[in-house]
């Protein structure tokens, strides 16, 4: 039996009927065609599906869409404002913090949560803050620099 939900995603309200077992990440990707949020594993480990729910980083594979009823979600597609890239998006570009790009949306969303709570993180704090996001391409080296780049811009 489907359930009616109302969710605000990147500032737009959506009303949809969903199967209760549908994961939030599938709701975003399949129902709303917001395919910037990726699925990289089955165990809530890799973080590729990270979005913000009411401002906090969430692995959207670890929540049912029905649980997001009434909540506000930001995905990678909502990070730029009026065509202006978010400092993290700019930072990842400037510091070559991405290669294949698959982990990048989740990485940026987690980093945004990190910077919201700690505007001047040390390298170690950045590395620990990103422990829930896997990248197989960059060796994390330039991801750290990308976050530092953004932190400087956001002060």
């Amino acid at each position: 039996m489907k359930v009616q939900i109302s969710v605000t995603v990147n500032g737009t309200n959506y009303q949809r009927e969903v199967e209760p077992r549908m994961l939030l990440v599938h709701f975003l990707r399949e129902e709303l065609s917001l395919t910037g949020t990726h699925v990289g594993c089955d165990t809530s480990s890799c973080g590729a599906c990270t979005v913000h729910l009411d401002g906090k980083a969430l692995k959207s594979c670890t929540m049912l869409a029905v649980q997001a009823n009434g909540k506000s979600i930001t995905t990678i597609e909502g990070m730029a404002t009026n065509g202006q890239l978010h400092p993290l998006q700019e930072g990842f570009h400037q510091e070559h913090g991405l290669q294949c790009g698959f982990c990048t949306p989740g990485m940026i969303m987690t980093a945004a949560d990190l910077l919201a709570n700690n505007s001047d993180p040390s390298e170690q704090e950045i590395r620990e803050g990103l422990e829930g996001n896997f990248c197989r391409c960059t060796g994390y080296h330039n991801i750290v620099k990308s976050v530092q780049h953004a932190a400087k811009k956001m002060v």
């Binding site: 199967e19 077992r21 549908m22 990707r29 399949e30 065609s33 917001l34 395919t35 910037g36 949020t37 990726h38 699925v39 990289g40 594993c41 089955d42 165990t43 480990s45 890799c46 590729a48 995905t75 990678i76 597609e77 990070m79 730029a80 890239l85 998006q89 990842f92 570009h93 400037q94 070559h96 991405l98 290669q99 294949c100 790009g101 698959f102 982990c103 990048t104 949306p105 940026i108 390298e123 170690q124 950045i126 590395r127 620990e128 990103l130 422990e131 996001n133 896997f134 990248c135 197989r136 391409c137 960059t138 060796g139 994390y140 080296h141 330039n142 991801i143 750290v144």
Partner: protein, 786 residues
């Protein structure tokens, strides 16, 4: 414009940082259905019966395919590389069925494909397929598999041998050198099985268009053209010109997406059978079970030395695990990508290697970042540091005194190894000198001494590696067993307005071709970077391609582009000479225009291209248009090299290894984009260290993969590493027009033994000289506690 050699920011970043990348699973076609596989839960089991009746009645189910269905039965994916037995017998190449009907040979072997209206419904129905299994004994280790009495994977492959193989000097001569040597260092180890774990799981969508009788396969592949060739010619027998293969954005490959997989062929067949598109995307658990794995060698290696530490000889025996079937490039990995690298950077006069390639009841093993070269490097570099410990010599000095002398491959000939290859150019002392300077070697040894006195375990490890990449001259690889050529194609199409579209057979899945290749083109034409577009990954737009692996894109694919660029400039010169009313020889092309030497008369690139397409005032006899294709087949492999140094500290109480510093000095020839090259090194280094300290697939005796999820298979994470210290030297490749060697695998090849060597150096007070990878805390603790 001077774009070559500068760290241009990547043009592909915008779509990836804004969520607009388009990966296969992002594609939704009208009427699309979803496939879910029933897979074997057993490593080795006979199938007595498959009952799909209950599943077929489940909601949303469109069709269920099994291995006995027409169009599937008898079809399988081929191997693309043939290595014969030493005695000349053809290698054993048992069929790898699209779906198994009689017997499963590894956990994850495909048994049925359930197609439904939604992914959830396909999954529900797949669970309702009932298979009557008769479980059989399994073998998972290569050496155990080759032993008498081991359970057979294929009845027609006795002793589970796919082939045996040897390379190098006369065995008796090599053995004789060992008999009289001053010192012999011996290591026996497993270069453990790794799982590539690209973060994007494999995905494939089959589509069939009845109006045009045409198939389209979207697939997360590193080489769409080869997939098309293999699938059309060797699997399904469908006409190649009626198949379009598209590899859109691909979320990392590391080798695992080179190969043609059963799921690609199955969604293609199924799409026509049901008249609707079929999508399959792997769950991570499926990736662990079905993406080709890497490494998995059981090796005994020995190195003989004289009193001064000169290497006299090297010999090795390797049991290479092939898994249950021969994957696309599998036979090449332990042989021509491994045995041929045993010269390393050293003047070793005598080398011999034997390889037994063994079937086991495990996921097929094939190329994984480095593919054979990391195994070869591990073999040599572990022997060297171990020998230094045993002989009381300095590991850096031991290397210096055995390095091959410099040669540029132009004035001096390339270096002929004892193991078939001829190195292109090399200058090995400077990379280690630079790395030692960066690490502050003398200071470190003092610090280490003080640390030891305070009961701390601090260690340094070295690895000076060489690799063969830019794979490769077709005639050579053909002679070595490749069933395909390994050239690359490129089309440079100058549009009338002077904008340039480049079609390359290389495929970017993170390497940044859209930037690096555009830099080359913009630089050579003297036009802005944004006037160049790089198109790749679509067999309908790119003439042909051999794809991206073996660090070959720039050295081979880039060279093909340069060939086309030269053709464009040559023709453009004819047009310019006509327009400027001068002789071609009087013209020079620079900064985007042709200028009459010694004058200010010139014509711009865009004016020449417009003339080519609006040929009203045009050289007689010259064809209109400005569009050239080229195929480039290199003269040799390329041979990057480098020196990696690791410093570790060990927690004495727990055995946990803490990587304190990592220094990498690499020589990848000329560099087009230093930022991208550094990024490749960083990523490779982490994968290499991942093998040293963390990763490794573990099977139990029955063939169950014990760590097939991210809860048990350790993926390197951000907080496992320090920032890296990298630098480079530049020894240009003498035989390709860009002088480039390739950077994709270097980090992964050099780093692994450096870290293990550092651990052994830290543990040297305990008198133990070997440890098995991954170097987990318990293994270290066991050494500390005797």
């Amino acid at each position: 414009m001077g774009l070559i050699g500068t760290s241009v920011k990547r043009v592909e970043d915008k779509r990836f940082t804004t969520g607009q990348g388009r990966y296969t699973d992002d594609i939704k076609l009208p009427g699309m259905t979803y496939a879910c596989f029933v897979r074997s839960p057993h490593a080795h089991a006979k199938i007595n019966n498959i009952d799909t009746s209950a599943a077929a009645d489940m909601p949303g189910v469109v069709k269920i395919f099994t291995g006995s269905d027409e169009g599937i039965a008898g079809f399988g994916v081929p191997c693309g590389w043939q290595v014969n037995f030493k005695n000349g017998d053809t290698m054993k190449e048992p069929p790898h069925p699209l779906l198994v009907a009689d017997k499963a040979r590894h956990m994850g072997d495909g048994v049925a494909m359930v197609i439904a209206e939604s992914y959830a419904e396909a999954k529900d129905a797949a669970e309702a397929v009932v298979v009557d299994w008769e479980v059989l004994p399994a073998v998972t280790d290569a050496k155990a598999g080759a032993a008498a009495g081991a359970p057979l994977v294929h009845d027609d492959a006795p002793n589970n041998l796919a082939f045996d193989w040897a390379l190098g000097n006369d065995k008796a001569e090599v053995d004789a050198a060992f008999d009289t040597a001053h010192h012999v260092t011996t290591l026996e180890y497993k270069n453990q099985r790794l799982v590539a774990n690209a973060i994007e799981p494999r995905s494939a969508i089959g589509q069939y268009d009845t109006a045009y009788d045409k198939y389209t396969l979207y697939t997360s592949s590193q080489n769409p053209h080869l997939t098309r060739l293999l699938m059309c010619a060797f699997v399904l027998g469908i006409p190649e010109h009626k198949v379009r293969v598209v590899a859109p954005d691909v979320g990392g490959g590391f080798g695992s997406k080179i190969f043609h997989y059963i799921e690609e062929a199955l969604v293609t067949v199924a799409a026509k059978a049901i008249g609707r598109p079929v999508k399959w995307t792997a769950e991570r658990r499926e990736s662990f079970l079905t993406d080709a794995h890497g490494r998995d060698h059981v090796t005994k290696a020995q190195m003989a030395f004289d009193k001064e530490g000169h290497i006299l000889a090297l010999r090795a025996k390797t049991y290479a695990n092939m898994g249950a079937y021969l994957s696309t490039f599998a036979p090449a990995v332990p042989t021509y990508l491994h045995g041929t690298l045993l010269q390393g950077l050293y003047k070793t006069p005598l080398i011999h290697i034997d390889v037994d390639a063994v079937f086991t009841h495990t996921t097929p093993v094939d190329a994984y970042r480095g593919a054979g070269r990391p195994e070869a490097t591990y073999l040599i570099e572990r022997l060297l540091d171990t020998a230094a410990l045993e002989m009381g010599m300095d590991p850096a000095e031991l290397r210096f005194q055995n390095f091959i002398d410099p040669f540029d491959g132009v004035e001096e000939a390339g270096y002929q190894t004892q193991v078939a290859l001829q190195y292109d150019s090399g200058n090995y002392h400077p990379v280690l000198e630079k790395a030692l300077k960066m690490v502050g070697y003398d200071d470190f040894r003092a610090e280490q001494k003080a640390a030891r006195e305070n009961g701390k375990l601090l260690g340094i490890g070295f690895s000076t590696y060489i690799e063969a990449c830019g794979i490769a001259p077709s005639a050579v690889v053909g002679a070595l067993g490749a069933r395909a050529g390994l050239f690359e194609s490129a089309q440079v199409r100058v549009q009338p307005t002077g904008k340039v579209s480049v079609y390359t057979g290389s495929h970017s899945h993170g390497q940044g071709h859209e930037t690096t290749f555009a830099q080359v083109v913009a630089d050579k034409f003297g036009i802005p970077l944004e006037d160049v577009d790089i198109i790749h990954g679509d067999s309908d737009s790119v003439a042909f391609g051999m794809g991206t692996y073996g660090s070959r894109s720039l050295a081979v694919g880039g060279s093909a582009i340069v060939k086309s660029i030269e053709k464009v400039i040559e023709k453009g010169t004819k047009i310019a000479a006509h327009k400027l009313e001068c002789a071609e020889a009087d013209l020079e092309f620079a900064e985007g225009k042709w200028t009459v030497k010694g004058s200010d008369k010139s014509i711009a690139f865009g004016d020449v291209s417009l003339t080519a397409y609006v040929p009203h005032d045009y050289p007689e006899g010259l064809e209109p248009g400005l569009d050239f294709s080229s195929f480039y087949d290199p003269a040799n492999f390329t041979y990057p090299f480098g020196a990696h140094i690791a410093i570790v500290e060990i927690d004495k109480e727990t055995g946990k290894v803490d990587l304190k510093r990592f220094i990498a000095v690499d020589d990848v020839g000329n560099v087009i984009n230093p930022m991208i090259v550094d990024g490749q090194i960083h990523g490779g280094v982490v994968q290499g260290i991942g093998q040293a300290l963390h990763e490794g697939a573990v099977y139990d005796a029955s063939g169950q993969l014990l760590n097939g999820t991210y809860m048990d298979y350790t993926m390197p994470r951000a907080d496992d590493f320090p920032s890296f210290e990298t630098d480079r030297t530049v020894t240009p490749c003498p035989h390709n027009p860009l002088g480039v060697k390739g950077a994709g695998e270097a980090g992964c090849i050099g780093s692994t033994p450096a870290v293990v060597n550092a651990v052994m150096d830290a543990l040297s007070p305990y008198g133990i000289h070997d440890i098995q990878m991954p170097v987990t805390s318990e293994k270290v603790w066991n050494i500390i506690n005797g």
